[in-house]
């Protein structure tokens, strides 16, 4: 059965440079001297450490527990000793630090005891969710949204189509391509498991048309229960909303989620991780990472989470050069790293080395509209830019700023070299901060209100409570005591009430 594909608006035909890395077997990245595991490698709340400094841990042992619904556990990626739980540099464009658990490997790489789920088909889908959460599975495609949350939404809502996303649309990145070629069986089995967990009517695995080897590997394994689809190579076809549009022709409502139109999308690596979690009890402790760009030996690596980026670069023969830029992720959406001394996390799909570009001054917008032509969401990028630049954030919101997926197509084509995406990010974070501030003020106001209500209720309700008590207090002695306390209270209530606490 072939599925009629649809087009998404805008987008760019980009050179892919996939041939650099997609044909070569991935290498196992050696054990580093130090493993640094950020407690937050996903969207949501950071995990809570459940080990202490100097604890011995085993490979695969849970060392951070999910701290809430939108949170996942983290696991030791090798055996060793916890040497620190504190702030360390993490991948972030501003070079910030965050809480991490540091492990000094003992070199034995000894697994803890892990337990498989037998016969997943007979298992309650809810049990599968727990397994997925306990194994620390997040979306491994890039955003890092906890997989169990999406799957739970899939369990609670009817899922028409489950899409397993193998569309690597950003140039240079081939880690999913390699994963499919090397672990196609995991991807297909994981697809069946997620499909079972959410009872999806249709199951689709999508790859890009320039991934023939991956397509062939999957084609050998899929049965009638899974549709294998080749999506035309056009950036950003691998974006969740774009992929949904290409495969189903449906649009995810603005501000809504894919599940609202009965679609669940998971990355191929996530599907493979689900397979490992269910059949072996293996948590997510490593991932495929593409090292590409101006490195002597570009390659895909299988890297233990927490391994420094610098180690991966060294494996590919790269010598540090201050004239180069290191990007974590692809060239369109990746983040610039100030230091390579940051760990690989669950969402690190690519390390890209670029020579420092010529500084290009930002010129005035000439309203050429190229940005609007390539925008896959059909926004008015130049209008959003003007709104953001003028600090007119409300106008930006009305022009659907929050529908922007930050794919970077607009900046890519801008002849005035305006860093449009940077303006949008700034506006988004400004609006978010403003909302937090307002929420904070609302919160303080409601707390103050609640306190006043409580005080008032106390003074009003006490006599009633006493009336109830009197029935029980039938002895004269108790009666007298109640009497004494009432007189005392009346005396106190006659004094002026305490001044309300000042609030900001």
């Amino acid at each position: 059965m072939t599925r009629a594909l649809h087009a998404f608006p805008g987008g760019l035909p980009l050179d892919h440079y996939m041939e650099w890395t997609c044909g070569e077997e991935s290498l196992l990245q050696p054990l580093p001297e130090r493993i640094v595991l950020p407690l937050q490698q996903h969207i949501g709340l950071p995990a809570t450490p459940i080990v202490s400094v100097r604890d011995k841990v085993l490979k695969g042992q849970r060392i951070g527990a999910a701290s809430g619904y939108v949170s996942v556990s983290i696991h030791a990626s090798t055996s060793g000793t916890v040497t620190d739980i504190g702030d360390h540099p993490v991948p972030h464009p501003a070079g910030i630090t965050a809480r991490c658990i540091v492990i000094e490997p003992d070199g034995e790489d000894r697994w803890c005891e892990i337990k498989a789920v037998d016969e997943y088909m007979s298992v309650d889908p809810r049990r599968l969710q727990e397994v997925i959460r306990d194994c620390g599975i997040t979306g491994l495609g890039g955003a890092g949204f906890p997989a169990h949350v999406k799957i739970n939404e899939g369990v609670e809502n009817a899922v028409d189509t489950l899409i397993i996303n193998g569309v690597e649309c950003e140039p240079f990145i081939t880690c999913d391509d390699r994963l499919i070629q090397e672990k196609a069986a995991y991807v297909v089995a994981g697809t069946r498991m997620i499909g079972h967990a959410v009872q999806a009517k249709h199951r689709v695995i999508a790859v890009e048309s320039d991934m023939p080897a991956a397509y062939a590997a999957l084609a050998r394994l899929v049965g009638d229960d899974i549709e294998l689809v080749q999506v035309p190579a056009r950036y950003p076809a691998g974006g969740e909303k774009q992929l949904i549009q290409v495969i189903t022709g449906k649009e995810v409502p603005s501000g809504g989620l894919a599940i609202h139109i009965g679609i669940l999308v998971q990355n191929v690596a996530t599907a493979a991780a689900v397979y490992r979690a269910v059949t072996r009890g293996e948590p997510v402790i490593s991932r495929y990472v593409t090292v590409a760009g101006t490195v002597p030996r570009p390659r895909n690596l299988q890297v233990l989470l927490g391994t420094p980026v610098a180690d991966c670069l060294r494996t590919c023969g790269h010598e540090p050069d201050p004239r180069q830029r290191i990007i974590l992720g692809g060239p369109m959406m990746g983040q610039h790293l100030r230091s390579t001394n940051v760990p690989i996390t669950k969402t690190s799909n690519c390390i890209l080395v670029q020579s420092e570009p010529e500084p290009a001054p930002e010129l005035a917008c000439i309203r050429c509209g190229n940005c609007a032509t390539v925008c896959p969401v059909q926004l008015l990028p130049q209008q959003l830019y003007l709104d953001a630049r003028a600090g007119n954030y409300e106008a930006a919101r009305q022009h659907h700023l929050f529908d922007c997926i930050e794919c970077g197509c607009c900046s890519y084509v801008c002849p005035s070299r305006i860093p449009l995406v940077q303006y949008y990010r700034h506006a988004k974070s400004h609006i978010a901060a403003e909302e937090r501030r307002r929420d904070g003020a609302d919160h303080a106001r409601s707390r103050f209100q609640a306190r006043n209500d409580r005080l008032r209720a106390n003074t009003e309700e006490k006599p009633d409570a006493d009336a109830i008590n009197t029935a029980a207090a039938n002895s004269e002695y108790v009666q007298a005591a109640v009497e004494r306390s009432r007189t005392r209270r009346q005396a106190r209530d006659a004094t002026p009430p305490e001044a309300p606490e000042p609030h900001d």
């Binding site: 998404f8 608006p9 464009p93 501003a94 070079g95 140039p171 909303k241 549009q245 649009e251 995810v252 409502p253 603005s254 501000g255 809504g256 830029r325 990007i327 992720g329 060239p331 369109m332 959406m333 990746g334 983040q335 610039h336 100030r338 890209l352 670029q354 570009p357 290009a360 001054p361 010129l363 005035a364 917008c365 000439i366 309203r367 050429c368 509209g369 609007a372 032509t373 896959p376 969401v377 059909q378 926004l379 008015l380 130049q382 209008q383 659907h400 529908d403 930050e406 970077g408 900046s411 890519y412 084509v413 801008c414 002849p415 005035s416 070299r417 860093p419 995406v421 940077q422 990010r425």
Partner: protein
Amino acid sequence: MTEPVVISSPHRHMGMTVRDVMLRVAAALVPGILVYAGIFGPGVLIQCILAVITGLATEALILLWRGRPLRPALSDGSVIVTGLLLALCLSPLSPWWATVIATVFAVGLGKHAFGGLGQNLFNPAMVGFVFVLLCFPAQMNQWPAAPVEGTTSPGITDSLAIIFVPTDTAVDAVSGASALNHMKSRLGLMEMVSEIRTAPIYGSLGGRGWEWIALAWLAGGVALLALGLIRWHIPAGFIAGMTVFSGVAWLLNADVYAAPLFHLATPGATLGAFFIATDPVTAATSDRGRLVYGALIGALACLLRLWGIYPDGVAFAVLIGNACAPVIDRFTQPRVLGVMP
């Protein structure tokens, strides 16, 4: 300590800059300029050089005055395009001072009074052109005579003399009515289009000689389309607007209204449709908006030609279109993906 610069994605760029765009647009004008010079003599080249030099000098002075860096603005190529378009709208017989005034006005008031590149509401070249057209109607309506038998186009010395030391006799010797002008005045004398068109100044499509220039602008415009420097919506809208408007008039009365092809085969129409109305700064921004915008300009240009007092109305139509662009934008916003109407 200053806040460290955050380098934001994307980390690649297609490489096209404003300068590349402008210089390619200027290059697309070259075939038309050469055809123009070949038919009507080197006057047009002198006008182009004069306007570009004046434009650059004006821009430099204003930038100094505004305390802005010279290099980025002067090297972005936009003033070259403005100068060329202005020179190509003026008659090659225009006196030097008219060209200089028009250019200073275009760059000074048309562009920098609004804040420079990207900020101007009106097409600077048209602002400058319309200014001198309104101020000096006599000089602005001296057009070189059509290359019919017995005439020769002026050489380089004659052209320099006409432009820099203009005398009425020298200009009269080489000037003649343009096709649009001739058509307008003869229609005023109650002659019929079919009669008027038998005059030797007409070619098979429009004005003799001028129709070739019109075709050369069209070729340049097609090159711009092929290179992806402009999109088809504005030219298509313009041509459709002009065709429909003049076509309806022509169908109603072919004796007093020329056929659509006559209107389209004028240099003003093709230069306007592909090079002037497509100035992105002053045009509508969405595809749908650009169709409306182009159609409005095409129809207005035709309206002004048929009933206005000036033979051509493209410049006025473009300025009115510029004024309407913001409101067109407002009502033609594309539907954002996932936003249900």
